[in-house]
Amino acid sequence: MNAKLVARMAWRDVRSGEMGLLLVALLVAVGTVTSISLFVDRLQSALLQESSNFLAADRQIKGSQVIPEDFVVQARQRGLETATTLVFPSMIFAGDLNQLVSVKAVDEAYPLRGELIVGQVPFQRGSPTQAVPKPGTVWLDSRLFPAMNVALGDTVEVGMAELKVTQVLVAEPDRGGSFFDLGPRLLMNLQDVPATEVVQPGSRLSYQLLLSGDEEALASLRDVLPLKPSFEWVSVRESSPRIGRALDRAESFLLLGGLLGVLLAGIAVGLSAHRYAQRHFDHVGVLKTLGATPGQILRGFMSLLLMVGLAAIAAGLLLGSLLHVAIVEVLASLIAVDLPSPTFRPFLLGAATGLICAMAFAMPAFMHLKNVEPMRVIRRDLGVAPLSRWLSYGAAAAGSLLLLVWYTKDLWLTLWTLLSIVSICLVFGVLAWALLKGGRVAGMQAKSGWRLALAGLQRRRAENTAQILIFGVAIMLLLVLVLIRTALIEEWQNQVPEDAANHFVMNIAEDEVAGVRALVRDRATEGEFLFPMIRGRVAQVNELSAKEWQAQKRPGYVGSQLTSERALTWSLEAPGNNEIVAGRWWAEDSQEAEASLELDYAQDFGLELGDRMEFDVGGRRVWATVTSIRSLEWESMTPNFFIILSPGALQDFPATYMTSFYLDPTEKVFLNTLLGQYPTITVIEIDALIAQVQKIVGQVSQAVELVLALVLLSGALVLIASIQASRDTRMAEHGLIRALGGTRSLIGGSLTVEFLVLGTFAGVVAVFGAELVVAMLQTQVFDLQMELHPWIWLLGPVAGALIIATVGLLGSRSLIDTPPMSVLRGLY
């Protein structure tokens, strides 16, 4: 067939609606993938930028030595922006008062990401600034004002330098990290550091080189710099695991959503191609009698598919971009981040999806057309040998695998999902077949709609089994997405509940506990815990000194040392967010000295149950036996301890206490009162950090919802395609029944029952499948707790029945409304 003829046939098919569903299915496949990946692509960059605020840069190089000048040169050569900061603890003085602060000295370029927020009044909201403290000036954390009894314009002594206080420092972007490091901040200019003379050999210094710019340039810089052993390369995912994990999971979810969207669209493409082919058997028969060779037929229909595919791809890419623009527009008020320009990848992905969908899902059906016997033209009873199942399913499976692996870049996620779907189809295919076979009803049984439907269900058992599976898989994929989304969002929100404690109070002396708690109770929501804190270090393990023990167990270990001073605590009960993974928690009446270690800590230093450890607490020694190992959620915004001792071991030691409370942002001035009355206590504000986490979680959740909506659209398309696919057979039968006197209500009733039954079965398949897939995804991919969802067990079948009946009846409305004569004439 020549190109002109093929083009004409394609155009006619499109116009007459024969090609409509296939075209729409391809269009939606391309459009969904393009818009999801466009959005994900841009959102990922945006989220990464937003979360880069935690570092005040895209990356940091961190070390306890001065960052070599060569590092800066190399970074600038790659077009990267740089800034330098130095953080060290120091005692500052104002009049008679002194306070230990965490000093951060910065250069003019700081911060590269995010912004500093300053104000004129302590504990009030501030406004962003592009500046940093000028030489000779400092900016102080709100709580240093009451603690040091200073006001703006006063001077404080930092080492040998006298510096003027010019601003209240309300927030700085890279404040995150472990909250034990969060001393009150003093921000100064890097140029003033020499004058302070605090930088001496042996000082505890932390130098940072902040970097921002092109990802490739960053990667190449990392490759060439001699970082080890003195310097550490820090990215947001490493420095802020909470954000890192939220991002990772969101990414997985968005990809999973895209993946399911592609699968659903693929099924829709396959179904509509199959129907198109079936409706063209006669057409091909005629062409063959007129002398078209099988080769010509094959080439002709392949070109036709290619033409339609290309048209769908072009339109799909356009649709995808428009959809994406619309999404960005709609979410503009919600997503405050400026979305960076998209890359080329989403378009490439969309186009490839269209092409692969057409090849893998539609091509087998089209190829099959060449096998139509020309004899069919005069002998309509001649069937067409069914399409080789190996060919069609094999092609679809190979196509899905190719697409999904490329799309998700995650072979495991893909294999898990596909494997679950295949096994569910096998099991439920057999089950559905058996169910439909049961209670044999012979003939047309046209007495009532109910019996007519059952007879129809049984007679078309093979098609109905396939349809149940297709409906089932479509509903299942949607359920999977809904459940995973719910689990993720719940988990994120649980991590940072609305009224989570956003202030920690430390250094409360024993005689201040009652007073502080009374004040807190009065003005804020008191947190759940009150921990004693005792500074101490490990002196000996079994027969060896701590130093020897570490040398033996972890030779050359450069991280924090076993002998480092740590915050110890004692507690009668295990903290709520801790899980005992080995041994057991001490009995309430235990008088023994027992120790419970955090899992990673124990592993790092080779400590096991039964080991005896000696602690040095301010010169006093105490021995304790390790009786339990705990794993804990470092992500929870509660204090966590590496070492907890039994009351028997520590309760006689003098301790300070820590607690937490939730303070509404409008009540910040309460901190003045608190610190005014108890000047020696330390308050750590993590409300800014929590707000930042909540903001990112909120954005990610929105993206997740959006992808869900897009995939729902693909799901609806599959349902329509599947109902269309079986429409011709139903049309033939029902036309005949109507011609023979069947009423419209009989046909309508029969169709309703048929779709309700199919939908219920499909719902059952979907529920089982969804539970299985979700369980696998939760445990294997998202690293969440596995849980069942009893609420979908009834909802699945009921919703399945209602949705299929609605879509089915809407789709077959013409079946009821078309005059029987037209139906019969269309048949023969």
């Binding site: 005629v286 099988p294 005069i378």
Partner: protein, 224 residues
Amino acid sequence: MQTSAGPLVILDGIDLEINQGETVAIVGASGSGKTTLLGILAGLDVASAGSVHLLDDNLSDLDEEARALVRGQHVGFVFQSFQLLASLTALENVMLPVELRGDTLAQSHAKELLEKVGLADRLDHYPRQLSGGEQQRVAIARAFASQPTVLFADEPTGNLDTQTGERICQLLFDLNQEFGTTLVMVTHDTGLAARCGRTIAISGGRIEPAEHDAQDDAQQAVSP
């Protein structure tokens, strides 16, 4: 062919020769095998045994690809249910066989043929916009478009009323005569069969002994 109830013989001992320019009617009761015979003669199907020669080709030795080429080159069809492609206009339907052969002058030739069958003003109509008789006239124009050597017709008037059937029949024979085509027709219509030069009656898959042989008269009738 093999069925679950044992071997089933559809056509048996058919020995038949049709000469160029002959008009032959194949008649018989439903299920007698006449349509199967037509399909095999036209190369739409192959017999499980025996051979069929069409012009210089032994159809039984050819694969579907080669048989299609033979059909495109030498064979035309008229079907009971017209078998026009619904997505193409009358003109496009007529152009189709010539286009399939790769010829380029299809359009003017097709227009001529449609004029001949009296549908000059319906060129751009789709099959569903045409009556049964009109559709069959398009089908006849299409059948002659590739200037076939042999025309096979399967109950060409079976779906039409008597009057229309009569007119279509006349058209078919007129064009057949004009182009000097060999005509092989399956029909129930004894009147139609009577207009053919020879009638072959099939019963139970076998050719019945000839009752009436009008070959000579027919040849006279269709010769120019």
